[in-house]
């Protein structure tokens, strides 16, 4: 265990300092997320190292901002359309988009990062998506629910912050046909509410929820027709957990 935590600490340090290659990031990030969601100590290290890395920037002298540069930036923001209500839309498609972004961040950074010279917007969106997942997973108030499988396969955890943000992480998930997706259900008074669909990459999956699981009694996962899933479960539950008594 100690060896593992030591390795994780090395990974966190490299990640915080932006000194991993994008390929390393893509390979290591899923495991790191998984571990951070399950380990308070490492989450603490992640918080600390990120703060320290931010402050390291103060280790070099500040550079004066010229009036011309300030005017340029102020001009640039005036040219930007103001985002109306900054909250992301709450549709299931938005969930799919978010999921796709998370998985892409995990799986494809190495492919995209240096080739798309000039337009890194997409990649940044992915990175920011990962950051949001990390922000939830590094929340000190996190409460974790392990979903159990009748087949005892893989590990799925629902991590819920006390403000209701939640992330589902899975590893060792069974492989399913290409035209199928995993669908998460949140149960309220015996009624399942569709809470997002996801696929697994190498058995690993991440889903940033758009529902607050604290308002529900239980969570369950089924396999449904892709890509959009269904409005009500049509197959057997493969993972489930009670969220409150």
């Amino acid at each position: 265990m100690t060896t593992k935590h030591h390795e994780i600490e090395e990974t966190i340090a490299a990640y915080a300092l932006d000194s991993m290659s994008e390929t390393e990031r893509a390979i290591i990030l899923p495991d790191l997320l998984d571990h951070l969601s399950a380990c308070d100590d490492c989450r603490g290290v992640y918080h600390d190292f990120r703060a320290t890395a931010g402050d390291l920037a103060l280790g070099v002298p500040a550079e004066p901002v010229t009036p011309a540069f300030e005017a340029k930036v102020m001009g640039a923001i005036r040219g930007e359309a103001r985002p109306v209500a900054a909250k992301p839309s709450r549709s299931r498609w938005a969930v799919r988009a978010m999921l796709a972004a998370s998985l892409a961040a995990v799986a494809a950074l190495g492919l995209f990062s240096y080739s798309v010279v000039g337009d890194l917007r997409e990649e940044r969106a992915r990175i920011e998506q990962s950051e949001r997942v990390l922000a939830v997973l590094s929340d000190p108030t996190l409460q974790r629910f392990s979903l159990t499988s009748p087949h005892g396969q893989g590990a799925v955890t629902l991590a819920v912050a006390n403000d209701g943000r939640a992330v589902l992480t899975g590893s060792g998930l069974p492989s399913i046909p290409d035209d199928r997706v995993f669908e998460l259900w949140l149960m309220q008074n015996g009624t399942p509410v569709a809470a997002g669909v996801f696929t697994a990459s190498g058995g690993d999956a991440i889903l940033l929820l758009d529902h607050d699981p604290r308002r529900f009694d239980a969570a369950a996962i089924t396999v449904e027709p892709g890509p959009a899933g269904t409005q009500a479960p049509t197959s057997d539950v493969i993972y489930s957990v009670k969220l409150r008594a």
Partner: protein, 204 residues
């Protein structure tokens, strides 16, 4: 001394509260609040971006992106990301490293050798909030206090934007050594900058 530190920390906490209030205003489109935040942190962001990129023009582009992105996404700012200060500076660093690695990929295609231009002489007359200047003084005191081999690793990775593997090659040490020295350096810096600053309760 410990009273100094905790006073400085209280100012830091207060600053974070002010910054968060600014973020709230920025999310509602307040250009003055944005201008204040920009003037407070852009010199620091420009400092690290210039250090990594060794090019003032590229550094300005990176810092502009960071702040424009803040303007567009202030409503999504997540307090659990840490302080506004360290988040902005980390963004500037992250994007600068992004650019330097792209640039490097470009260079590898076009030329085999690369001689960096010397950094621009930096002005001493950058006006920073006293509190930020104090924070800067603490970081600048903590870095030289690191053992040479730990500082060399941070120099190559964080300040030059190399990956750990590239840093290992540049320093002629195994990758595992770079990784362990990095952790040792980060722990030491954290303890100097964060733990100690929480004042009082020393632990053995």
């Amino acid at each position: 001394m410990s009273t100094d530190r905790s006073a400085s920390d209280e100012v830091g906490d207060l600053q974070q509260q002010r910054d968060l209030a600014s973020i709230g205003k920025i999310a509602r489109g307040d250009e003055h609040a944005f201008g204040d935040l920009f003037r407070r942190y852009a010199p620091g962001a420009l400092g690290i971006a210039t250090r990594v990129l060794v090019d003032r023009v590229l550094a300005e582009e990176v810092v502009q992106e960071v702040f424009v992105s803040l303007w567009k996404r202030a409503g999504q700012y997540d307090g659990s990301r840490g302080t506004v200060r360290s988040w902005l500076l980390a963004q500037a660093h992250h994007r600068a490293v992004d650019v330097v690695r792209r640039e490097e990929a470009e260079r590898r295609r076009t030329t085999t050798t690369y001689a960096p231009e010397p950094p621009l002489p930096s002005a001493d007359d950058v006006i920073e909030d006293a509190w930020l200047a104090d924070r800067r003084a603490r970081v600048q005191a903590a870095l030289p206090a690191l053992p040479d081999e730990q500082r060399a690793v941070l120099e190559k990775t964080y300040f030059e934007g190399l990956t750990q593997a590239q840093a290992a090659e540049a320093l002629g040490v195994p990758l595992g050594t770079v990784k362990s020295r990095t952790v040792a350096a980060m722990r030491r810096l954290r303890d100097t900058l964060e733990r100690r600053s929480h004042g009082g309760g020393e632990q053995s």
